[in-house]
Symmetry: C2
């Protein structure tokens, strides 16, 4: 159970189709990429998808998390009417899930498989796009702080 | 003159209405916010706007840049047809411009005033929203690397 995210914030996150993941390497050099994601039980799960990028462990975001698990995750809404701008910023730590990561709690469904199933449900695109294959990775973000700004209409 | 950005990348950046700025504090904790911006002569300029947030120097992004000038700046395009996704990621260093920063080169227009004029031109919203006032700040990003992915249709 995670009480950091209010129902309004959770709805804003759940209905968003994409977010932005910021990481930094051991020297503090930031990096940011757009990501698809699901929110599940207060955590954010974002996949390294199955496109032919080579070894996913060589991706900058994965190398950064290995060096420095601190991350920021943002969902925002832009439109030309600036009275309607809004964002949710989560800061916390990330871990990397693999097909051998196991369950979050004893007796539970495997967390890696569970997040993959939720991603397939949210994004029908995964019917045609590989979701990582057996070597795929899922980044799991555990938020420690939540900052909101502006309008959070979901 | 800046040859890091190809004409196609420059067009993609110029036509985008918003970007994402990632910074990190001295301990390497990342932060990311959505921003409006202009591209001018190879640099990105993004304002701290005039909303009543109190002293802009207390904003996390400004404190982070003061501690650690390394930044990442992303412009991306999301749509449900994933064959049309694309992004441009710039990594480099940021500096803070104020009304007393002066010109980029001798004899030139004041860089702070120039970027403000370009922001007003790109965003008609600044007719009604304060662009920082006399104490406003402009973040100037000088890119040192440029990574592109996917489709960059401007």
């Amino acid at each position: 159970m995670n009480r950091l995210l209010t129902p309004r914030v959770s709805r804003f996150l759940e209905t968003a189709r994409a977010g932005h993941l910021a990481t930094a390497d051991a020297r503090g050099r930031p990096h940011v990429v757009p990501v698809v994601f699901v929110l599940d039980r207060g955590r954010i799960y974002t996949p390294i998808d199955g496109k032919p990028k080579g070894d996913p462990r060589k991706l900058r975001r994965i190398r950064n998390i290995a060096e420095n698990p601190r991350v920021a995750f943002l969902v925002d809404h832009y439109e030309e009417d600036w009275t309607k701008l809004g964002f949710v910023l989560l800061q916390g730590t990330a871990s990397i899930l693999t097909s051998t990561s196991g369950a979050l709690e004893p007796g539970e469904e495997d967390e890696y498989q569970r997040s993959k199933a939720l991603l397939r449900k949210k994004y029908p695109q995964y019917e045609f796009v590989s979701l990582g294959g057996p070597d795929g990775l899922i980044i799991c973000i555990t938020p420690e702080s939540c900052t909101t700004w502006g309008q959070l209409w979901a």
